[in-house]
C-alpha cells in the first residue's frame, strides 16, 4: 500500500466519529443530488410521456398545396379564385416507396401510414364532429396506445368497425356493439359498428377521435390510392429533430418532429432542468465547503505531527498527498454512501410511466449516480488542496521547539 495512503487512512480511522460525521454530511449532499436528479428527470419523463406518449414523434405529410388562381393572372381584378381547402390535404402518392425506407431506419419503433379527414358521427338525430383517422388494422396502437386504454370492446379493427373515445361515446350515447353512421366531409356516409371505446386521458382524442381501417377511410374520403400522412414513433423521442431532418432529406417530404408543436413544454422542461442543476450545484458547493473546513481543522489539529513528519524527512509533496488522499477518500466514501442510500430509498417509487396522479414521478434510473460520485470525489479533492497546501507550509522548527 502506498505510504501516503496508509497515513491518510490512519488519520481518518483515528477519529472515527469525526470521519463518520464528515462522510455522513457528504452522503447527505450526494443524496440531495441523486434525489433531485431522479425527481426532475422523472418529472420530465412523466410530462413528456403524458404529452408525447400518444402522439407521433415525427409526422410526414405532403406540403399544403398553394391555392392557385383559376384564371390566368394579369391585369384587371380577380373575381374568381380557389380557396385553400381546410378539410383536404394533398396526399402522399408515393408513400409506398418511402415506407420501407423509413421502417428500415435504426431507432424507428413504429411507422403508421394514415388517411385523415373530418366528418360527423351520426346516431339518429345526433351528430358529433369527429376527426377520422384511417389506420392499418394491425397498427391501431402503433402511435397512440389505443389497445392499452380501452374501456370497452376490442381494439381489433375491421372494415366495418370504428373505435371512438369515451367522451364521444357518452355524448352521443352509444356503446360497444351498436351501429353509428360516419359521414365524411366528402359527403359519404357509412354505417359502422362501434368495436371499442378508449380513454386516453387526452380530451382532444377522447371527445373527437374516431379510428377506422385504412380501407374504410379510402371509401369515406375517396382516396383509392395514396395516404394523407405517415406517423412515426421512435425509441428515443429526444432524437425526433434529427430523425425529422434525415427523413425530410431522404424523402423530400415535410417531416415535422413533435418538438415543433410543443415549444412551451420544452421551455418548461428546460427551466426545470436549470433549477435542478442549480440545486445540484449548491449541494456540491456545500460538500466542498464541508470537506475543506473539516480538513483545515484537521491540519491545524495535526500541526505538530506534520512538523515531525517533515523533520523526519517527509517532503512537502508527501504531506500534500496525505491530505489530498484524505479528501478523495471522504469524497468517494461519502459519494458511494449517498448514491447507495439514494438508490435504496428511491427504488420503491414506481417509474414515471406507471405513476398515477398524486405519485411523486421519481425515476430511480435517472439518479445520475456515477456523475454524483465522480463530481463529489472531484469536489472533495479540490476542497482538500487548500488544507493540504496549508499543511505543507507547516514549519517543523516552530513545531519541535514548542
Amino acid at each position: 500500500m502506498p505510504y501516503g495512503l496508509k497515513i491518510a487512512l490512519r488519520y481518518l480511522t483515528a477519529g472515527k466519529a469525526q470521519t463518520g460525521l464528515l462522510i455522513a454530511g457528504v452522503a447527505v449532499g450526494v443524496f440531495v443530488f441523486v434525489f433531485i436528479s431522479a425527481l426532475i428527470g422523472g418529472l420530465g419523463l412523466f410530462l413528456v410521456q403524458r404529452t408525447v406518449g400518444d402522439i407521433a414523434h415525427v409526422s410526414v405529410e405532403a406540403p399544403d398545396r398553394e391555392a392557385g388562381l383559376l384564371l390566368p393572372g394579369g391585369e384587371g381584378r380577380i373575381l374568381l379564385a380557389e380557396q385553400r381547402a381546410a378539410t383536404r390535404r394533398e396526399q402522399l402518392r408515393t408513400a409506398a416507396a418511402f415506407l420501407p425506407l423509413i421502417e428500415a431506419l435504426p431507432g424507428v419503433r413504429a411507422v403508421s401510414p394514415q388517411i385523415v379527414g373530418n366528418g360527423f358521427l351520426v346516431r339518429g338525430q345526433q351528430r358529433a364532429p369527429v376527426g377520422v383517422t384511417g389506420v392499418e388494422a394491425d397498427k391501431v396502437s402503433a402511435i397512440a396506445d389505443i389497445g392499452g386504454h380501452l374501456v370497452a370492446g376490442s381494439a381489433a379493427l375491421t372494415n366495418t368497425t370504428v373505435l371512438i373515445g369515451s367522451t364521444l361515446a357518452r355524448d352521443i350515447g352509444v356503446e360497444v356493439g351498436q351501429v353509428v353512421g360516419l359521414l365524411s366531409d366528402r359527403d359519404i356516409e357509412r354505417p359502422l359498428l362501434v368495436g371499442g371505446i378508449f380513454e386516453l386521458g387526452l380530451e382532444a382524442l377522447d371527445s373527437r377521435a374516431a379510428f377506422v381501417s385504412l380501407a374504410a377511410a379510402r371509401t369515406l374520403f375517396e382516396l383509392p390510392q395514396g395516404i394523407s400522412r405517415i406517423e412515426i414513433k421512435l425509441d428515443d423521442l429526444d432524437a425526433a429533430d434529427a430523425y425529422a431532418a434525415r427523413i425530410a432529406a431522404d424523402t423530400g417530404l415535410a417531416a415535422t418532429p413533435w418538438t415543433a408543436g410543443n415549444a412551451q413544454l420544452l421551455s418548461g422542461l428546460r427551466a426545470q432542468e436549470n433549477s435542478s442543476n442549480l440545486i445540484k450545484a449548491f449541494a456540491l458547493i456545500s460538500i466542498v465547503i464541508g470537506v475543506a473546513s473539516a480538513l483545515l481543522l484537521s491540519t491545524y489539529r495535526r500541526r505538530s505531527e506534520i512538523g515531525i513528519m517533515r523533520a523526519m524527512g517527509a517532503s512537502r509533496s508527501f504531506v500534500v498527498a496525505v491530505f489530498v488522499i484524505q479528501g478523495a477518500l471522504i469524497g468517494i466514501l461519502g459519494g458511494l454512501a449517498g448514491a447507495g442510500l439514494g438508490y435504496l430509498l428511491l427504488a420503491p417509487f414506481p417509474p414515471p410511466d406507471l405513476a398515477t396522479a398524486g405519485d411523486l414521478p421519481i425515476d430511480v434510473r435517472q439518479g445520475a449516480y456515477g456523475l454524483a460520485i465522480g463530481l463529489t470525489a472531484l469536489g472533495a479533492i479540490l476542497a482538500s488542496i487548500l488544507p493540504a497546501r496549508a499543511a505543507a507550509r507547516v514549519d517543523p522548527v516552530t513545531v519541535i521547539t514548542q
Binding site: P2, Y3, S304, M309, R310, G313, V397, I400
Partner: protein
C-alpha cells in the same frame, strides 16, 4: 585518523529584522569527527537549539558555511535538504515527538517508509531489531500514547537510527525524564555510539548527562567557547 563528518564556520543566525532583530549565533565555528559522542552545553538562550536546528538542516543560517559529508548545505534547496536529512541525520527531541496514532514499530520505520513510499518486510524487520536493541521488544505493537515517557524516548532513539544516519542530533533527550530513565537512555546512546560508530551531538544543560560524552562543547553567547 578520524574523518571530519561536519563542519560549520563563522555561522551567524539572526531572527527578525531592524530594531526587532535578535542575533542568536555570532560567528560560531564547530567541527565534528565521525564517531564522536559530544555534549553541547550552555545556558538557556545561548544558541544551542538554534545550532542543532541548523545542523539538522531544518533551518538555514543567516550567513556562514555549513558542510556535512563533504557537501555544502548552505545553498541547498528545501527538497535537497529534506532528502539529506532523511538519509543522514536522526533526531531525538526532548518531548520525543512520536506520531500518536501509530504503534512503536510504525513510528520507528517512518523515516525509511516515507523515503521509499511504502513499508516493506525488511523495514519491519529492522524496526523490530531496533526496538529490541532499546529494550522494547514487548512494546512493538503498542500505540505511542500507551507508552511511558522513558519508553517513548527509547522509541524516538530507535526511530533516529532507522536509516542508519551518520549523525544523531539530540535536543535535551533526557530533559523530560526521571534520573533512572535518563541514565538508561544515555547508557543506550553510549552503547550505540560505541558499537555502531554513530556520531551523537547531545544538547543538554545537565553536567551529569554531559559526563557520558567524551567531548563537551560549550556554547556561550552564540559562539563555541
Amino acid at each position: 585518523m578520524s574523518e571530519t563528518l561536519l563542519e560549520v564556520r563563522n555561522l551567524h543566525k539572526t531572527y527578525g529584522e531592524g530594531s526587532t532583530a535578535t542575533h542568536v549565533l555570532h560567528g560560531l565555528d564547530l567541527r565534528l569527527e565521525a564517531g564522536e559522542l559530544c555534549a553541547l552545553l550552555g545556558p538557556s538562550g545561548s544558541g544551542k537549539s538554534t545550532l542543532l536546528t541548523i545542523l539538522g538542516t531544518l533551518m538555514q543560517p543567516s550567513s556562514g558555511q555549513h558542510e556535512m559529508l563533504g557537501r555544502d548545505l548552505t545553498q541547498a534547496g528545501d527538497r535537497e535538504l529534506t532528502e539529506f536529512r532523511n538519509r543522514h541525520i536522526g533526531f531525538v527531541f526532548q518531548f520525543h515527538h512520536l506520531l500518536p496514532d501509530f504503534t512503536a514499530l510504525e513510528n520507528v520505520i517512518f523515516p525509511a517508509a516515507v523515503e521509499a513510499g511504502r513499508e516493506t518486510a525488511a523495514m519491519r524487520g529492522r524496526g523490530r531489531e531496533l526496538l529490541a536493541r532499546v529494550g522494547l521488544a514487548d512494546r512493538i505493537d503498542f500505540l505511542a500514547t500507551e507508552l511511558s515517557g522513558g519508553q517513548k524516548q527509547r522509541v524516538a532513539i530507535a526511530r533516529a537510527l532507522m536509516n542508519t544516519p551518520e549523525l544523531v542530533l539530540a535536543d535535551e533527550p533526557t530533559g523530560n525524564l526521571d534520573r533512572e530513565s535518563a541514565d538508561r537512555v544515555m547508557q543506550l546512546i553510549e552503547e550505540i555510539n560505541r558499537d555502531q560508530g554513530t556520531t551523537f551531538l547531545i544538547s543538554t544543560h545537565d553536567e551529569k548527562i554531559a559526563a557520558y560524552c567524551r567531548r563537551q562543547i560549550r556554547v556561550v553567547d552564540g559562539r563555541t567557547a
